[in-house]
Protein backbone atom coordinates (compact mmCIF):
# COMPACT_ATOMS: atom_id res chain seq x y z
CA UNK A 1 0.00 0.00 0.00
CA UNK A 2 1.21 3.48 -0.83
CA UNK A 3 2.18 6.00 1.82
CA UNK A 4 -0.43 8.45 3.03
CA UNK A 5 -0.87 11.68 1.08
CA UNK A 6 0.55 14.98 2.24
CA UNK A 7 -2.26 16.59 4.30
CA UNK A 8 -2.18 19.89 2.42
CA UNK A 9 -2.53 18.12 -0.91
CA UNK A 10 -5.31 15.95 0.43
CA UNK A 11 -7.22 19.01 1.70
CA UNK A 12 -6.82 20.73 -1.67
CA UNK A 13 -8.23 17.75 -3.55
CA UNK A 14 -11.09 17.19 -1.08
CA UNK A 15 -12.08 20.86 -1.36
CA UNK A 16 -11.89 20.75 -5.18
CA UNK A 17 -14.30 17.82 -5.26
CA UNK A 18 -16.53 19.39 -2.60
CA UNK A 19 -16.67 22.66 -4.58
CA UNK A 20 -17.62 20.78 -7.78
CA UNK A 21 -20.52 19.14 -5.95
CA UNK A 22 -21.74 22.23 -4.11
CA UNK A 23 -21.72 24.44 -7.19
CA UNK A 24 -23.34 21.90 -9.51
CA UNK A 25 -25.89 21.14 -6.79
CA UNK A 26 -26.66 24.84 -6.50
CA UNK A 27 -27.07 25.19 -10.27
CA UNK A 28 -29.50 22.25 -10.32
CA UNK A 29 -31.46 23.70 -7.41
CA UNK A 30 -32.10 26.82 -9.53
CA UNK A 31 -34.53 24.66 -11.53
CA UNK A 32 -36.72 23.98 -8.50
CA UNK A 33 -40.22 25.11 -9.43
CA UNK A 34 -39.26 25.79 -13.08
CA UNK A 35 -38.94 22.32 -14.59
CA UNK A 36 -40.92 21.40 -17.71
CA UNK A 37 -43.00 18.90 -15.74
CA UNK A 38 -43.60 17.76 -12.19
CA UNK A 39 -41.47 14.62 -12.43
CA UNK A 40 -38.48 16.68 -13.57
CA UNK A 41 -39.19 19.21 -10.86
CA UNK A 42 -38.69 16.37 -8.38
CA UNK A 43 -35.69 14.85 -10.11
CA UNK A 44 -33.48 17.93 -10.34
CA UNK A 45 -33.75 18.97 -6.67
CA UNK A 46 -33.27 15.28 -5.77
CA UNK A 47 -30.01 15.18 -7.71
CA UNK A 48 -29.08 18.55 -6.19
CA UNK A 49 -29.69 17.08 -2.75
CA UNK A 50 -27.33 14.18 -3.53
CA UNK A 51 -24.63 16.60 -4.64
CA UNK A 52 -25.00 19.03 -1.75
CA UNK A 53 -25.07 16.09 0.68
CA UNK A 54 -21.84 14.76 -0.81
CA UNK A 55 -20.26 18.21 -0.58
CA UNK A 56 -21.22 18.45 3.12
CA UNK A 57 -19.43 15.20 3.92
CA UNK A 58 -16.38 16.37 1.96
CA UNK A 59 -16.24 19.85 3.53
CA UNK A 60 -16.57 18.30 6.99
CA UNK A 61 -13.65 16.05 6.22
CA UNK A 62 -11.57 18.97 4.89
CA UNK A 63 -12.37 20.94 8.05
CA UNK A 64 -11.33 18.00 10.19
CA UNK A 65 -8.06 17.56 8.27
CA UNK A 66 -7.32 21.27 8.43
CA UNK A 67 -8.06 21.38 12.18
CA UNK A 68 -8.32 25.19 12.35
CA UNK A 69 -11.82 25.34 13.79
CA UNK A 70 -13.56 25.95 10.46
CA UNK A 71 -16.86 24.15 9.83
CA UNK A 72 -18.46 22.80 6.65
CA UNK A 73 -20.53 26.01 6.52
CA UNK A 74 -17.39 28.19 6.63
CA UNK A 75 -16.15 26.38 3.54
CA UNK A 76 -19.47 26.48 1.72
CA UNK A 77 -20.60 30.01 2.51
CA UNK A 78 -17.77 32.19 3.72
CA UNK A 79 -14.98 32.01 1.18
CA UNK A 80 -14.29 34.53 -1.56
CA UNK A 81 -14.76 33.67 -5.24
CA UNK A 82 -11.03 33.13 -5.85
CA UNK A 83 -10.92 30.58 -3.02
CA UNK A 84 -13.39 28.23 -4.72
CA UNK A 85 -11.63 25.60 -6.81
CA UNK A 86 -14.51 23.96 -8.67
CA UNK A 87 -13.99 23.23 -12.35
CA UNK A 88 -15.58 25.76 -14.70
CA UNK A 89 -18.01 23.22 -16.18
CA UNK A 90 -20.19 23.06 -13.05
CA UNK A 91 -20.62 26.84 -12.77
CA UNK A 92 -21.79 27.33 -16.36
CA UNK A 93 -25.33 28.74 -16.46
CA UNK A 94 -28.27 26.37 -16.91
CA UNK A 95 -29.32 28.17 -20.14
CA UNK A 96 -31.91 25.55 -21.10
CA UNK A 97 -32.84 21.97 -20.27
CA UNK A 98 -30.41 20.56 -22.85
CA UNK A 99 -27.46 22.45 -21.33
CA UNK A 100 -28.48 21.41 -17.83
CA UNK A 101 -28.75 17.70 -18.63
CA UNK A 102 -25.53 17.68 -20.65
CA UNK A 103 -23.57 19.38 -17.87
CA UNK A 104 -24.95 16.82 -15.41
CA UNK A 105 -24.07 13.98 -17.74
CA UNK A 106 -20.46 15.09 -18.38
CA UNK A 107 -19.89 15.46 -14.65
CA UNK A 108 -21.58 12.19 -13.59
CA UNK A 109 -19.77 10.24 -16.31
CA UNK A 110 -16.50 11.39 -14.73
CA UNK A 111 -17.45 11.04 -11.06
CA UNK A 112 -18.82 7.51 -11.34
CA UNK A 113 -15.52 5.78 -12.23
CA UNK A 114 -13.65 8.29 -10.02
CA UNK A 115 -15.69 7.29 -6.94
CA UNK A 116 -15.29 3.62 -7.80
CA UNK A 117 -11.53 4.16 -7.62
CA UNK A 118 -11.72 6.16 -4.38
CA UNK A 119 -13.95 3.46 -2.85
CA UNK A 120 -11.07 1.02 -3.21
CA UNK A 121 -8.43 3.61 -2.29
CA UNK A 122 -6.28 4.16 0.78
CA UNK A 123 -8.27 6.85 2.64
CA UNK A 124 -10.89 5.39 4.96
CA UNK A 125 -13.14 8.46 5.24
CA UNK A 126 -13.16 8.99 1.48
CA UNK A 127 -13.88 5.29 0.94
CA UNK A 128 -17.07 5.71 2.96
CA UNK A 129 -18.16 8.87 1.12
CA UNK A 130 -17.35 7.23 -2.23
CA UNK A 131 -19.36 4.11 -1.42
CA UNK A 132 -22.54 6.18 -1.14
CA UNK A 133 -21.75 8.70 -3.85
CA UNK A 134 -20.94 6.09 -6.47
CA UNK A 135 -24.45 4.64 -6.32
CA UNK A 136 -26.12 8.05 -6.25
CA UNK A 137 -24.16 9.39 -9.21
CA UNK A 138 -25.04 6.22 -11.13
CA UNK A 139 -28.66 7.40 -11.17
CA UNK A 140 -27.52 10.79 -12.46
CA UNK A 141 -25.69 9.21 -15.42
CA UNK A 142 -28.77 7.25 -16.36
CA UNK A 143 -31.25 10.07 -15.86
CA UNK A 144 -29.24 12.67 -17.77
CA UNK A 145 -28.14 10.11 -20.37
CA UNK A 146 -31.75 9.18 -21.14
CA UNK A 147 -32.64 12.83 -21.64
CA UNK A 148 -29.69 13.32 -23.98
CA UNK A 149 -30.97 10.44 -26.12
CA UNK A 150 -34.57 11.73 -26.06
CA UNK A 151 -33.48 15.25 -27.02
CA UNK A 152 -30.68 14.37 -29.44
CA UNK A 153 -32.85 11.86 -31.27
CA UNK A 154 -36.04 13.88 -30.81
CA UNK A 155 -37.43 16.80 -32.78
CA UNK A 156 -35.43 19.15 -35.01
CA UNK A 157 -35.52 21.78 -32.29
CA UNK A 158 -34.46 19.46 -29.45
CA UNK A 159 -31.61 18.05 -31.57
CA UNK A 160 -30.44 21.57 -32.39
CA UNK A 161 -30.51 22.56 -28.73
CA UNK A 162 -28.49 19.48 -27.76
CA UNK A 163 -25.94 20.28 -30.46
CA UNK A 164 -25.74 23.89 -29.19
CA UNK A 165 -25.20 22.64 -25.65
CA UNK A 166 -22.38 20.35 -26.79
CA UNK A 167 -20.68 23.24 -28.63
CA UNK A 168 -20.96 25.41 -25.55
CA UNK A 169 -19.96 22.89 -22.87
CA UNK A 170 -17.57 20.40 -24.44
CA UNK A 171 -14.60 22.82 -24.21
CA UNK A 172 -15.02 22.76 -20.40
CA UNK A 173 -14.70 18.97 -20.03
CA UNK A 174 -10.91 18.73 -20.20
CA UNK A 175 -10.63 20.43 -16.81
CA UNK A 176 -12.49 17.49 -15.24
CA UNK A 177 -9.67 15.21 -16.35
CA UNK A 178 -6.84 17.56 -15.40
CA UNK A 179 -4.27 16.34 -12.84
CA UNK A 180 -2.54 19.08 -10.84
CA UNK A 181 0.26 18.60 -8.26
CA UNK A 182 -2.16 17.97 -5.41
CA UNK A 183 -4.01 15.30 -7.38
CA UNK A 184 -0.74 13.74 -8.45
CA UNK A 185 0.29 13.42 -4.81
CA UNK A 186 -3.08 11.83 -3.92
CA UNK A 187 -2.77 9.43 -6.86
CA UNK A 188 0.71 8.44 -5.69
CA UNK A 189 -0.68 7.79 -2.21
CA UNK A 190 -3.46 5.62 -3.62
CA UNK A 191 -6.21 7.95 -2.35
CA UNK A 192 -7.66 8.70 -5.78
CA UNK A 193 -7.37 6.62 -8.96
CA UNK A 194 -4.96 7.01 -11.89
CA UNK A 195 -6.49 9.31 -14.51
CA UNK A 196 -5.82 7.11 -17.58
CA UNK A 197 -8.52 4.47 -16.96
CA UNK A 198 -10.97 7.14 -15.74
CA UNK A 199 -10.50 9.10 -18.97
CA UNK A 200 -11.02 5.94 -21.02
CA UNK A 201 -14.26 5.18 -19.17
CA UNK A 202 -15.44 8.77 -19.52
CA UNK A 203 -14.83 8.67 -23.26
CA UNK A 204 -16.64 5.34 -23.56
CA UNK A 205 -19.69 6.60 -21.64
CA UNK A 206 -19.91 9.78 -23.73
CA UNK A 207 -19.51 7.90 -27.03
CA UNK A 208 -22.08 5.29 -26.04
CA UNK A 209 -24.78 7.85 -25.22
CA UNK A 210 -23.93 10.27 -28.06
CA UNK A 211 -24.16 7.41 -30.55
CA UNK A 212 -27.62 6.47 -29.27
CA UNK A 213 -28.58 10.16 -29.36
CA UNK A 214 -27.24 10.64 -32.92
CA UNK A 215 -24.91 13.37 -31.68
CA UNK A 216 -21.26 13.96 -32.50
CA UNK A 217 -18.36 14.33 -30.09
CA UNK A 218 -16.68 17.55 -31.24
CA UNK A 219 -13.00 18.36 -31.59
CA UNK A 220 -12.11 21.12 -29.14
CA UNK A 221 -9.72 23.81 -30.35
CA UNK A 222 -9.63 25.91 -27.20
CA UNK A 223 -10.13 23.95 -23.98
CA UNK A 224 -11.32 26.14 -21.12
CA UNK A 225 -9.88 25.84 -17.66
CA UNK A 226 -8.95 27.93 -14.62
CA UNK A 227 -11.44 27.00 -11.93
CA UNK A 228 -8.97 24.77 -10.09
CA UNK A 229 -6.76 27.81 -9.51
CA UNK A 230 -9.67 30.10 -8.61
CA UNK A 231 -10.02 31.79 -12.01
CA UNK A 232 -13.75 31.66 -12.62
CA UNK A 233 -16.12 32.78 -15.33
CA UNK A 234 -18.18 35.94 -14.91
CA UNK A 235 -21.32 33.94 -14.11
CA UNK A 236 -19.72 32.58 -10.96
CA UNK A 237 -19.97 35.86 -9.05
CA UNK A 238 -23.72 35.99 -9.58
CA UNK A 239 -24.04 32.38 -8.44
CA UNK A 240 -22.05 33.04 -5.24
CA UNK A 241 -24.11 36.13 -4.45
CA UNK A 242 -27.20 33.99 -4.26
CA UNK A 243 -25.51 31.00 -2.62
CA UNK A 244 -23.98 33.10 0.16
CA UNK A 245 -26.80 35.62 0.59
CA UNK A 246 -28.25 34.18 3.79
CA UNK A 247 -24.92 33.78 5.62
CA UNK A 248 -23.71 37.20 4.53
CA UNK A 249 -26.96 38.91 5.53
CA UNK A 250 -27.48 37.05 8.79
CA UNK A 251 -23.96 35.98 9.85
CA UNK A 252 -23.95 32.78 11.86
CA UNK A 253 -27.56 31.89 10.98
CA UNK A 254 -28.26 28.22 11.62
CA UNK A 255 -30.99 25.86 10.51
Amino acid sequence: MATSANTEDLIRVVVQIADDHLILGHRLSEWCGHAPMLEEDLSMPNMALDLVGQSRALYSYAAQLENKGRSEDDFAYLRKDREYTNCLLVERPNTDFAHTMLKQFYFAAFMHPFWQGVKNGSDETLRGIAGKAEKEIGYHIRHAGEWIVRLGDGTDESAERMADAIDALHPYTSELLEVDDARQSCIAAGVIPEIGPIQAQWNATIHNVFTQAKLNVPEVDFPQQGGRTGHHTEDFGFLLTELQYMQRTYPGAQW
Binding site: L42, N46, D50, Q54, E124, G128, K132, G138, Y139, I141
Partner: protein
Protein backbone atom coordinates in the same frame (compact mmCIF):
# COMPACT_ATOMS: atom_id res chain seq x y z
CA UNK B 1 -14.41 0.89 34.06
CA UNK B 2 -16.49 -0.60 36.86
CA UNK B 3 -19.47 1.52 35.78
CA UNK B 4 -19.52 -0.21 32.41
CA UNK B 5 -20.79 -3.37 34.03
CA UNK B 6 -23.73 -1.55 35.55
CA UNK B 7 -24.98 -0.31 32.15
CA UNK B 8 -27.53 -2.67 30.65
CA UNK B 9 -26.23 -2.90 27.08
CA UNK B 10 -29.14 -5.02 25.87
CA UNK B 11 -31.65 -2.52 27.23
CA UNK B 12 -29.82 0.33 25.50
CA UNK B 13 -29.72 -1.61 22.25
CA UNK B 14 -33.48 -2.28 22.48
CA UNK B 15 -34.17 1.44 22.91
CA UNK B 16 -32.00 2.48 19.96
CA UNK B 17 -33.15 -0.24 17.58
CA UNK B 18 -36.82 0.69 18.08
CA UNK B 19 -36.46 4.38 17.22
CA UNK B 20 -38.63 5.13 14.17
CA UNK B 21 -37.55 6.69 10.89
CA UNK B 22 -39.02 10.21 10.59
CA UNK B 23 -39.99 9.83 6.91
CA UNK B 24 -41.17 6.21 7.09
CA UNK B 25 -42.49 6.17 10.68
CA UNK B 26 -43.74 2.58 10.40
CA UNK B 27 -40.11 1.41 10.09
CA UNK B 28 -37.67 1.20 12.96
CA UNK B 29 -33.95 1.84 12.57
CA UNK B 30 -33.57 -1.89 13.11
CA UNK B 31 -35.89 -2.64 10.18
CA UNK B 32 -33.91 -0.25 7.97
CA UNK B 33 -30.59 -1.72 9.06
CA UNK B 34 -29.02 1.68 9.73
CA UNK B 35 -28.28 1.16 13.44
CA UNK B 36 -24.84 -0.39 13.12
CA UNK B 37 -23.77 -0.92 16.70
CA UNK B 38 -24.47 -0.04 20.31
CA UNK B 39 -21.49 -0.15 22.65
CA UNK B 40 -20.61 0.88 26.15
CA UNK B 41 -17.48 2.95 26.70
CA UNK B 42 -16.97 3.77 30.34
CA UNK B 43 -20.22 5.38 31.45
CA UNK B 44 -21.38 6.28 27.93
CA UNK B 45 -23.56 4.38 25.50
CA UNK B 46 -22.31 4.95 21.96
CA UNK B 47 -24.75 4.24 19.13
CA UNK B 48 -23.43 4.20 15.56
CA UNK B 49 -25.79 5.08 12.73
CA UNK B 50 -25.19 4.86 8.97
CA UNK B 51 -26.70 7.43 6.61
CA UNK B 52 -28.98 6.01 3.92
CA UNK B 53 -28.24 8.70 1.30
CA UNK B 54 -25.61 11.46 1.29
CA UNK B 55 -28.20 14.20 1.12
CA UNK B 56 -30.78 12.55 3.37
CA UNK B 57 -32.34 15.48 5.25
CA UNK B 58 -33.64 13.02 7.87
CA UNK B 59 -30.18 12.03 9.06
CA UNK B 60 -29.77 14.79 11.65
CA UNK B 61 -33.28 14.09 12.95
CA UNK B 62 -32.55 10.35 13.19
CA UNK B 63 -29.34 10.93 15.13
CA UNK B 64 -31.08 13.35 17.46
CA UNK B 65 -33.97 10.89 17.99
CA UNK B 66 -31.59 8.08 18.94
CA UNK B 67 -29.80 10.37 21.35
CA UNK B 68 -33.07 11.59 22.90
CA UNK B 69 -34.53 8.09 23.22
CA UNK B 70 -31.42 6.83 24.98
CA UNK B 71 -31.26 9.88 27.23
CA UNK B 72 -34.93 9.49 28.13
CA UNK B 73 -34.28 5.88 29.10
CA UNK B 74 -31.64 7.15 31.50
CA UNK B 75 -28.50 6.50 29.48
CA UNK B 76 -25.60 8.85 29.04
CA UNK B 77 -25.59 8.64 25.25
CA UNK B 78 -23.52 9.66 22.26
CA UNK B 79 -24.46 9.05 18.62
CA UNK B 80 -21.79 8.67 15.96
CA UNK B 81 -22.10 8.65 12.19
CA UNK B 82 -20.61 5.58 10.53
CA UNK B 83 -19.76 5.98 6.84
CA UNK B 84 -17.86 2.75 6.20
CA UNK B 85 -19.05 0.29 5.05
CA UNK B 86 -21.80 2.22 3.25
CA UNK B 87 -25.42 1.28 3.93
CA UNK B 88 -27.25 -0.65 1.24
CA UNK B 89 -30.93 -1.52 0.81
CA UNK B 90 -29.85 -5.17 1.15
CA UNK B 91 -29.65 -4.43 4.90
CA UNK B 92 -33.39 -3.78 5.16
CA UNK B 93 -34.73 -6.76 7.12
CA UNK B 94 -37.49 -9.15 5.96
CA UNK B 95 -39.74 -7.52 8.55
CA UNK B 96 -38.85 -4.11 7.12
CA UNK B 97 -39.68 -5.23 3.59
CA UNK B 98 -43.01 -6.65 4.77
CA UNK B 99 -43.87 -3.34 6.49
CA UNK B 100 -42.96 -1.34 3.38
CA UNK B 101 -45.29 -3.40 1.22
CA UNK B 102 -48.08 -3.25 3.82
CA UNK B 103 -47.78 0.54 3.67
CA UNK B 104 -48.10 0.71 -0.11
CA UNK B 105 -44.40 1.02 -0.94
CA UNK B 106 -42.80 -1.61 -3.16
CA UNK B 107 -39.67 -2.91 -1.40
CA UNK B 108 -36.30 -2.65 -3.17
CA UNK B 109 -35.08 -5.34 -5.50
CA UNK B 110 -31.77 -6.92 -4.57
CA UNK B 111 -29.86 -6.61 -7.79
CA UNK B 112 -27.99 -3.53 -8.96
CA UNK B 113 -28.82 -2.49 -12.49
CA UNK B 114 -26.03 -1.27 -14.76
CA UNK B 115 -26.17 2.52 -14.82
CA UNK B 116 -24.82 2.63 -18.35
CA UNK B 117 -27.83 0.81 -19.76
CA UNK B 118 -30.35 3.49 -20.58
CA UNK B 119 -34.12 3.00 -20.48
CA UNK B 120 -33.66 -0.22 -18.49
CA UNK B 121 -36.86 -1.71 -17.10
CA UNK B 122 -36.87 -2.80 -13.48
CA UNK B 123 -39.62 -5.35 -12.72
CA UNK B 124 -41.52 -3.88 -9.78
CA UNK B 125 -44.52 -5.60 -8.23
CA UNK B 126 -47.60 -3.48 -7.37
CA UNK B 127 -47.92 -3.40 -3.55
CA UNK B 128 -51.73 -3.20 -3.87
CA UNK B 129 -52.72 -5.96 -6.30
CA UNK B 130 -49.33 -7.72 -6.75
CA UNK B 131 -49.47 -7.30 -10.53
CA UNK B 132 -46.10 -7.16 -12.28
CA UNK B 133 -47.60 -5.05 -15.06
CA UNK B 134 -46.29 -1.73 -13.76
CA UNK B 135 -44.62 1.28 -15.34
CA UNK B 136 -42.02 3.75 -14.06
CA UNK B 137 -43.31 7.32 -13.99
CA UNK B 138 -40.24 8.94 -12.51
CA UNK B 139 -36.85 7.76 -11.29
CA UNK B 140 -37.07 10.37 -8.52
CA UNK B 141 -39.88 10.74 -6.02
CA UNK B 142 -40.95 12.48 -2.84
CA UNK B 143 -37.79 11.48 -0.94
CA UNK B 144 -34.30 10.57 -2.23
CA UNK B 145 -34.95 6.87 -1.58
CA UNK B 146 -38.05 6.49 -3.74
CA UNK B 147 -39.09 6.32 -7.39
CA UNK B 148 -42.65 6.69 -8.71
CA UNK B 149 -44.44 3.84 -10.43
CA UNK B 150 -47.97 3.17 -11.62
CA UNK B 151 -49.79 -0.16 -11.83
CA UNK B 152 -51.34 -0.92 -15.23
CA UNK B 153 -53.65 -3.54 -13.71
CA UNK B 154 -55.28 -1.60 -10.87
CA UNK B 155 -54.20 1.90 -12.04
CA UNK B 156 -52.87 2.77 -8.59
CA UNK B 157 -49.76 4.99 -8.48
CA UNK B 158 -47.22 3.90 -5.87
CA UNK B 159 -43.72 4.51 -4.53
CA UNK B 160 -40.87 2.09 -5.12
CA UNK B 161 -38.05 2.02 -2.58
CA UNK B 162 -35.04 2.27 -4.91
CA UNK B 163 -32.36 -0.34 -4.82
CA UNK B 164 -29.23 1.28 -3.43
Amino acid sequence: MSNAETIDLEAARAVAVNVCDPELPFLTLGDLGILRSVEVHGTTVIAKVSPTYSGCPALDVIEQSVHDALAQAGFNARVERMMTPPWTTDWITEEGRRKLEANGIAPPGNTQTDKNILFAKTAVCCPQCKSENTIKISEFGSTPCKAQYQCNSCSEPFDYFKCH
